[in-house]
Each structure stands twice: as C-alpha cells, then as structure tokens.
Symmetry: C2
DNA sequence: TTCAATTAGTGGCATATGCCACTTTCGGCG
DNA sequence: CGCCGAAAGTGGCATATGCCACTAATTGAA
C-alpha cells in the first residue's frame, strides 16, 4: 500500500505519454480551429503532401497507424473534398492517395496556423528542448518490441 | 517549396507525440491483452485506485481529459462491473467513483502485466532516460497555453 | 498453368476523446 | 426568500484508432 504513489502516479510511460498527447492535441486543435481541420487531419494531409501520391499502406506505416484506422480517418477528408484516391497502375490491390487542389489550399491555410502554434510551443519549452523531445519520441516510435512474454517459436 | 521536408517531417511536436503514443499504446495494450483491459482503461482504474473515491471532475483534471470524455470512457468499465459511482453526500451535483472488488482484483491482475511491459520498455530505453522522458512529458502536460492568437480582452 | 500463401484494403464493432447544448444543484445577492 | 450565474454531469454527434473477418489481387511454387 505504501506504493500508493504521489498525486501524479506518472510512473507509467504510456499513461504519461497519452496525457501529454491529450494536452498538446487540444492546443494544436485550437490553433487550427478556424481552418476546420483537426491536428490529426492536418498531420495526415501533410504526410500525403510530402509523400508522392503514397499508397495507403505507406502512409499507415509512416504514421505508425493501423491500415484500417487510416482508412476510417481518411473518409471525412475525402468527403470534404480534400483528398482523393486512385488505383495504382501496376498493382490493382494498391490504392494511392493525393490531395485535391482544395486539399492543397486547405493545407497551405492550415500550415500558417500550425506554424504559429508550433512557434508558440517552442517559445515556451525552447526549440532545442522541443527538438530533443521529438528525437526521443521518434526513438520510442522506432522501438522494436519483440515479444518476451511468449517463448520464441522456431 | 524547398521546405518540403525530409521523409520524416517529424517537425510537428504534436504529430510526433501522437505517433509515439500510437506505438507505445499498442505495446502496452498487447501486454495487458490477457487481462482484457486496454492500457487506457488500466490507467483510468489506476487513477481511481490511487485517488480516494474521486469525483469525476477530479479524475478528468488529473488525467487532463474532457469531463464528458471521461464519462464515456467510464461506461464500459461500469458495465463490466469494475467501477461504480455514487453521489456525494454534501453536493448532489458531484458523482464519485470507486473500484468494485472485481475492479480491484482486475487492477491487481493488470498491474502484474503492466509491470512486465514497463520493465521491458525501460530495459530498452533505459530507466533514467524513461524517467527523463516522463518528466518532460509532464512539463508539456502542465504548460499553460494562454492564447496569443487573439488580442487580450479587458 | 493452377493453387496455396501473401499482400492491400474494406467493413463492422468497440473504445477513446472532444465539443456543444442542456439539466440539475449550489452559492451568493438583493 | 427568490433569482442569477457558476459548477458538475449527461447525451448526442463526430473524429480517432484498433482488431478481426473477409475479399480481391499478386506472387511463388509444383
């Protein structure tokens, strides 16, 4: 019982990460508010933008998202006309994604808002500190969690 | 256009944070798998456990969650009999939350699984590094983003 | 060439989170 | 005491994410 922890109980790496994500998410969401995009959608549009007409699987992998989750997340963006999909020429299983002209315009608009938020955040925590945090988070994202729970097969 | 960014574009603090959160979330989710709890639910049960029959608002504040979101998240846990609510004696607006005996048992079970995951994670990134990351994330979570976008009123 | 295994997505179902519009209580004031 | 504004939740609606079961295409043998 003595391990009842301090008020924070921020011992769980995952819980701490989610907590910060909720916080920061709302901040960026607010900043993007007038564009009508959520920070998640902004990130997705941006990823599509910097990739060249990427396949869904490629986006999912880059963002470390479940493929089906990506499909769901893409729907409102397609519905609103920011994104469109088209079949790959060589492999008909593959569906590629790209921004529509309106999607490009919306992204440009959102980037301005995002920049302000990004700047404000970095002013508060320090650009160097922020870069360091991102680097650490990228390391976490890149971790290869091989199962240690189950006995290795073969 | 030259700012088209590198393959990663991990420039956005928020996107980077979410990406890592998805990754780590799945890892902890897998670890908790056999308990039937998601890492989010585990965190919630734990928070209730360490707080003393907290009011919903108190939990929401501690976890930096929207109050209504907390209400929604609590439902499956109530439905499954892990948590129960009851009215505050003095203020009928307040609804307090506590674990049921089964909830306690389930939490105990989950803590074992969580510990293994926690340990594995810290073995990979280093306990010191992990503690540092959590500290930074707690700082982010504690940031007070006053609006700079709009002109200050009054 | 033909069939099994693999790869890429889709759809359904469930939880996670937020925002907004209300409803119920409290608390403080005139 | 009666009313107004603040505080605490609830419900509805929408997006974010995952897992699983399937379907459609491909690829790699036999």
């Amino acid at each position: 019982m003595t391990e009842a922890q301090q008020p924070g109980f921020s011992r769980c790496n995952n819980a701490t990460l989610r907590r910060a994500a909720r916080r920061l998410g709302r901040f960026y969401d607010d900043a993007l508010g007038t564009s009508g995009l959520k920070s998640t959608q902004f990130g997705l549009l941006f990823q599509i933008h910097v990739s060249g007409e990427p396949a869904m699987g490629a986006i999912a992998e880059a963002l470390i998202m479940d493929l089906s989750a990506l499909g769901h997340t893409l729907k409102p963006l397609i519905r609103d006309g920011y994104v469109e999909t088209f079949a790959d020429k060589d492999d008909r299983r593959i569906k590629r994604v790209r921004l529509t002209p309106q999607g490009q315009a919306k992204l440009d608009e959102a980037i301005k808002l995002w920049s302000a938020a990004q700047r404000q955040f970095e002013d508060m925590v320090g650009a160097k500190q922020a870069a360091k945090l991102r680097a650490t988070l990228d390391e976490v994202a890149a971790l290869d969690f091989e199962m240690a729970t189950a006995a290795p097969s073969i």
